[in-house]
Each structure stands twice: as structure tokens, then as C-alpha cells.
Amino acid sequence: MLNHDAEITRRAHALLSRALDEVPDRRRAFVDESSSRDSLVCDEVHRLLDALDSAGGFLETPAWTTPTAAVPRRFDGRTIADFTVLEHAAAGGMGDVYRAEQQSPRRIVALKVVRGGRASDAALRRFAIEGEALGRLHHPHVAQVVSAGVFDCDGERVPYVAMEWIDGARNIARWAAETSLDVGARVTAMLDVCDAVAHAHGRGVIHRDLKPGNVLVGTDDRVKVIDFGVALLADGATRATLDGQFLGTLASMSPEQCRGPLEQVDVRADVYGLGAMLYELLAGQPAFDLSGVPLAQAIRIVTETSPPALVGVPEDLATVVAKALAKDVDDRYVSVEAFARDLRNFLAHRPIEARTPSWPRRARLFVRRHRIGVVATTVTTLAVLVGASAAAVGMVRARVAEGNAERRLEKLETLTTFLTSMFDVEGSQTLGADVTVADQLRMWESRVDTDLAAAHDVRAQVHFEIGRGFFTLGLYADAERHLLQALALITVLNGGESHDGVMTRGKIAMVLEKQNRLKESEAIYIELLPLVDRVLLERPSQREVILGGYAITLHRLERPDEAARILEEILVARRERQPRDDERVAATLGQLGRVRVAQGRKADAEACYREAMAIETERFGAGALRGIATKNNLAVLLRSLGKLDEAEALTRDAYETRLARQGPDHPETLTTQANLAMQLLSLEQFATAVAMLEDCTERHRRILGPRHEDTLKTVANFARSLLLVNRSDEAEAVARELIGDAAQTMGASHWRVAWARAIHGQSLAQLGRADEGRAELDAALVALGSAKGPPKEMVDRVKAWREAIGN
């Protein structure tokens, strides 16, 4: 029986398959006429055809697509600023609209509350500026803004806009469809919209989000443009919460808005928005149908494809719309007035100003579009060569595969091979501060944005990888620049709270810390803290990298206790995952060691370092770059504990490894070199030590700049070493300059400034200028007494110097 059933199923399936080759109307007849004598099989095929008829959307929506369900905030009855909320009226793109009553003057308003509520400070600032401008817009076709501001909602600052209430408001596209206006009437309605937008442009307000949903028509058939400038709020944090809405907006968003930060667009973005709106009014559907299209692809559609030709629309009008919708801003109308003027030309049957793009221009655009692959691969090859991840290459390969262009592929491979061989010859495939690689990166970085203009996902990735490449090379300013560009793109593509967004922001915070911009770094980490628990919950080690970075920033801000608490927590988590996470445990131990030193718990610090070193030697071997930092730190600690020989051996080992692997100009090589010089100084190998510190000072100044904290440390050490070899006049000059530089970087009351002053005082004393030296040393001692956290050895040293002079 079972076999029989299986046989029927098999035959029914086969018959169904053949029946489906027929046109739908013929299928059942085909089944009945089929050679199958078995009525059971025929019946089954009919049931299958029934199933197909009733299947509808069965399986058509991918399994992972979760249905959209916006949950409006509940504000009913609450008072927001001057307004009492009456009822929820609509869910808009940016948030929810409530009908509300203003206290004085008493009137009904539409109160728009931005959803998500976590607008970034920068966005709120911009919004505040813009809000003022909004109030100054008075135009019959602009919905009058009553007030705009920020209110406190359960501890969150939520932006709101109150504007005139429009009775029976419908969006312009729906209105046009429902009242079946003719083409002329639709264009005339658009002219009202254009006037409103032009009025705003004249007052410095760009709308940025023109779409039918933002042009309302009330019962009096008057159009009103709403939400001027509100799109500005949608950056960073807020944008992420709007992802779902973003797609809706995308259909009428200009290519340059898809591509880059909103604040960088000009009035021509609004020209595009108006063009897209007119297109929709004329075609009865949006210029780009993006429903169900993945975001990345949607962006590609908007930036690379033309909308379907307008059917049944006069050619001149279609040309005007096409010019407004041009991909390249330079091909668009220069202003809304120019666009409106051409629309009036059309209505009056005058010749229009718009021209279709010339053939050479179109050819140029085509070439520009198709050059992407070549350059992308070149750039990513470079990114890989400097040790960045190969993920970007994967993306580019994917793009090539999509295009299925064999010749292009061939060309790419040739180019890749060429570049690889070139780097081989230069011997720069090793990870390090190789000038060739950095220079090449610089050469190519300028072309990423022009040559990859349309490929945002790849561009974001390439920027990120180049940023990481520069980070690895220790070129932090360059790294920061690229990471910021990556972040801008990622924010637009996936939102700042996406995984990539969070990781990129974390990396930026680290780059800022490396550049000594600690307050900025801390600010980013504070923004990220609530996010890492949410976005990175599944990836504990990435979460810990960010938290560890935060701890280091706190440490650098001289808040070791806070840093220690974070690191202790990370350490517990990582130990739980041992031995798999051995190296991460080691990394955290290394960081905790530094913090313990700052806490004055040197024995604990030594234990941390030693355990980390044991793990790292076991994992990577003795001469590996990984683990060098631990050796270096341990050496510094051992030196301060008087264990000079072990310290010197460790530091020399670290320095030689770094020199070989990272090159002489890498900031980390410099730090290690400076450390080694100090060890030698302790071991009284003065001549070598001073020469090394001199070299080190020159490199630090050149590479990190004269005011970088690490530079300041090295300069102080150099000056100190000059004292030891009795080159007092040089010491005096170096220390004098250092006082100013340190005060500028660290603030005048920092102990480093006092230390510089003390060295200066001692150099004066050694030059026989005892009075000046005494005064300087006294001042230094007073400053050290009131400064936060100067090392005890230092204070003792200064006291000894002061005592040596006597009175």
C-alpha cells in the first residue's frame, strides 16, 4: 500500500509538471486527456492544481522576512511642552503624529513626535538651529510650524514639531488619484509645491525628504508641504531605528542622499525629490518600485538605474521630469525655480530648457559605472597587502560574479597579479610601516569615492579596510578619516546601530584614544555602551574588544579604578571560555596590568603581565609580534621594581621584534625603543641611551607630532638623559620647550608640566644658575604637590635635586 501511494505521488508529480507547461486554462483538460489511465493519479493532479490555485502568496515571502508592525508610543492625555495630546492620528515616516491642543493660543495642532527618541547630540543641535528657521517659514503652501523643540520623555530627549492641523489631510498622490486630475492640473499642483520649497530654500531650509507623504492636501484642496528639515534628525542613532521606514523614503531620495551624509546635500536634492514626486503623480506609481528589495540593492537601483519611461505623458514633460531626476547633480536643474520655470514653459507650450543628455555624456557615465570592478579589486588588493581582512575582496568577487563579465574578470586578475608581484619585489608584503604600502594606499584612497561612487556597500567596506590598514600601520589620522567615511556610508546603508556601525564606531573610538583625543573617545564609548549589550550580545568577544577599548580610554583619562572594574569583568567572562580564548585572556590581562600599575598595585600588575606572557609565548612562540606589548609593559614594571637585567632583556627582545616586523617609524616601535633607552639609562649605559633617545625624539616629533603625549614623554626622558651625561645646556633648551608643549597638551596643572619644569630647574642648576634652578624646582615641587597622581619616584627625584642645591 505504501509503495502504491508513493508510486501515485511520483506519477502525479510528473504529470503535474507536464501540465504546468500548458497555459493555465488548458491544464485541467491536459490532465484529463493525458495518457494516464489511473484515475487516482488524475484526481491527485487535480487536487494539486487546486492547491496551486489556492496557494496565493504561499512561500512567496522569504521565511526570514518579519512583517512590519509599528508600535506608536502612547502619549494620549499627556502634556508635551505647551500641548495636550488628544489622540494618535497617524504613523509617519519619522515618527507619530498626534492631534493635540495648544494651551495658548488655544488651537488644534498636529504634533509630530520623532520615533526612536535617541537622536544624537549633533542631530539635536542641528534640529534646534533648523527649528528656528522653520518658524520663519510663512507660505500658503507650507504647513505652518507652531513650535519645534525637545521634550523629556522618561529621561530621553525626544524632538517634536507642532504644526498647523490640516483637516482631512491626504497625501498628494492619493489626492490626485482620487480626484482624477488631468496632467495639467497635476503639474499645476506641483507648481504650488515648488513655490513652497523655493520659499524655504530662500530662507536657508532644505527639505531633504520630499515625497508624496510629506505633501498633504486638505479638504480645501490646498497643498501643504510638511516636515521641512526633519530628515536631518535621521542620522546616526535615529536613522537606525528608522530602517524600516527608510526604504519607503528611499524611493524618492536622491542618489547623493543615498550615498552620503544628509547634511551634505544641497537644494538639488530637493529638485530630485520634486521630480520623483511629479513622476509618481504622472505615472500613478513611484519612480522606483523598491518593495521587497533588500536595502543594499534598493540603493543600487536608485543610484544606478533609470525609472521606467513615462507612458502617455507629453515628451516635453517627460524630459523635464527626467532632468529633475538626473543621477548626477550637475545634470539636474540648478534650482527649484529653474525646475518650476520649465514646468511653466511646458504648460504654456513654450520650448523647454531641459535637454536629454548628449550621447558622449551618456557614454561617459556608462564607462564610469563599469570601471568600478577594476579599481575595487586594486584597492582591496592593497588593503589585503597591508594586512586588512580579505572580506572586501570577497565582496568585489561577488560583484564580478554578479556581472558575469569574463573579460572584466580577466582584466582584474591581470591587474591583481601585477600589483601583487610589484609588492613582492618591494618586499613589503610583511605587515609593517612600509612606506611603499602606505604611499600606495594614499595614492588609491583618493580614488575610492570617485571610482566606486555607486557601489556603496563595497565603498563602505573598502574605507573600513583602508582605515584598518592605516590603523595597523599606526597612521592614526589617516585611519580616522577612512573609518569616518566608512561610518557615514554604513549609517546610511545599515544604520549606526547596526553591527557594522557599532564596530566601526568602536574602532573610531580606539583611533581617537591613540591620537590622545581622550574626551572624544570617551564620548563615543558612552554612546556605544547601551548598544554593545544589544547589538553584540551574540558576539561576546567583539563586545569585550569595545569595552576593553573603553577601559583603556578611562585608564588614559587617569580613572584607573573604573577601568579596572570593566577589565575585571571582561577577564572573568574570558576565563570562562578558556582555553579557546587564551589569547583574549592574555590581552585583557595585559590591559589590566597597565591599569594595576596606575592603581599603584605593582605586585598584581606583575602577576597579570607574567600570566599574559606565559599564554602568549605558548600561543605564538617567542619571536612573534603578538605578545610584544606584554613584554614591554612587564619590562617597564620590572625596571621600576629594580629588576633591571630582566627588564633590559625583555625590552631588547621586544624592540628587535618590532623593528623587524613593524619598521623603525611605527609608533609602537618608537615606544619600545624609548623604553629600551630608559633601561639602558638605568643600567648606566649612558652614551647608547642618549643617542637612542635623541633618535627617538626626532622620530616621535616627526610621526606623532610635537605635542602628542608619547612625544612629550620621550622628550622628557631625552632631556633627563642629557642631564645625566652633563649636556646641561641642551637639556635646558629641550626642557624649556617641553614645559610649553606639555602645558598645551596636558593642561598647565598636570604633573608632566611640573616634571618638565623640574628638569629645566635641574639643568639650570647644573649650568651654575643656582638661583633660577632653585626657583624652578620649588615651583615644580609646589605643582607636583597639588597635581593628581605624579609617580612617587619622580617626586623623590625632584626633592633630591632640590636638596642638592641647598639654600
Binding site: L59, P67, E538, M678, E793
Partner: protein, 181 residues
Amino acid sequence: MTMLCVNVNEGRSNDLLAASYDELRRLAGAYLRSERPDHTLQPTALVHEAWCRLAGRSGREGMTRDDFVAAAAQAMRRILVDHARAHRATKRGGATPTLAIDAVDAPTSKDTGAAVDVLALDEALERLRSLSETQATIVELRFFGGLSLEEAAVLVGVPRRTADREWACAKAWLHRALSAD
């Protein structure tokens, strides 16, 4: 003596993940736990992201994107099925729900409004595979991998017209299989 602070190199090498399953599960979990009511998850974006991550790992250079997409669709099917199983076990009074992947919503089919029983679909799909490998694969790519019919056709290596027919056939067969009794 002045002390010098030294930079610490945070571990940069990532653990090599065995397969797309882990990666996708992670991605899916992270996407869905962001708990945005208005967030729409795009399977293709997910696959794309996983691909970007996996493609760069050593030992996978030879992998083509097609190989990956096919594997990913299978992996995504597994993830949903495993999730549904875990969910069912929980409902029967098993362990407390795990936070790890419980956030994944049961997949629904928007137009019919009815939820697709993933476990039943999974079983039916295997039975369909014994009748037609091509049809089962197309369903996997489309429904679990989020590919368009066009993309699925290219991947399976059949003309678009054939893919249309195979898809219709599979849909009929599966709809019948899932609505029978």
C-alpha cells in the same frame, strides 16, 4: 624615573568559524534581537553579510559565491528548523527558552496570513526532494535563502521559464502536502 605607557595590541585574529551555520545564526540572532518593531530582516542581506565574513577567511578562497549562497540557504533552513524544534520542546515543558535564538519569529506568509509550519515544510521538502532535486533546491533558495526566482534559476542552472514551472509545481505540491489532513 618616568614611566612610559605602552600600547596593547588587542587580539586581531578571529576564530575561524567552521561553517556558515554559526555565522548566519549569529547574524540572524543579532538582527532580530535588536527588537525593532519596524525592522524588516532581509535574508539576502544576511547571506551577503555572512558571505563577506566567511569569504575572507583562510582556506575559503576557492569558494564561489554560488557555492556559498546554496550552502547559506541550507543553513538558514536548518537554523529555522532547529529553532522551531527548540521552541516546540519548550512549549512541551522542556527547558526554559534560550535567549540565544528565541527571538526569531516564526516565519509567516504575508499574503495568506497563515503561518508556515517550518517543521512540516522541512519534512515535506525532503519528500519533494526525492521527486525532484531541482524543485526542492529552488524552494530552499527562494524561501529560506531569499533569492529571486531569477537568481535561483541561474544558480540551479535552468532557464527562467523552466524555473517558473518548477516553482509552480513545487508550490502546488508543498501547499497540498501542508494542507492535507
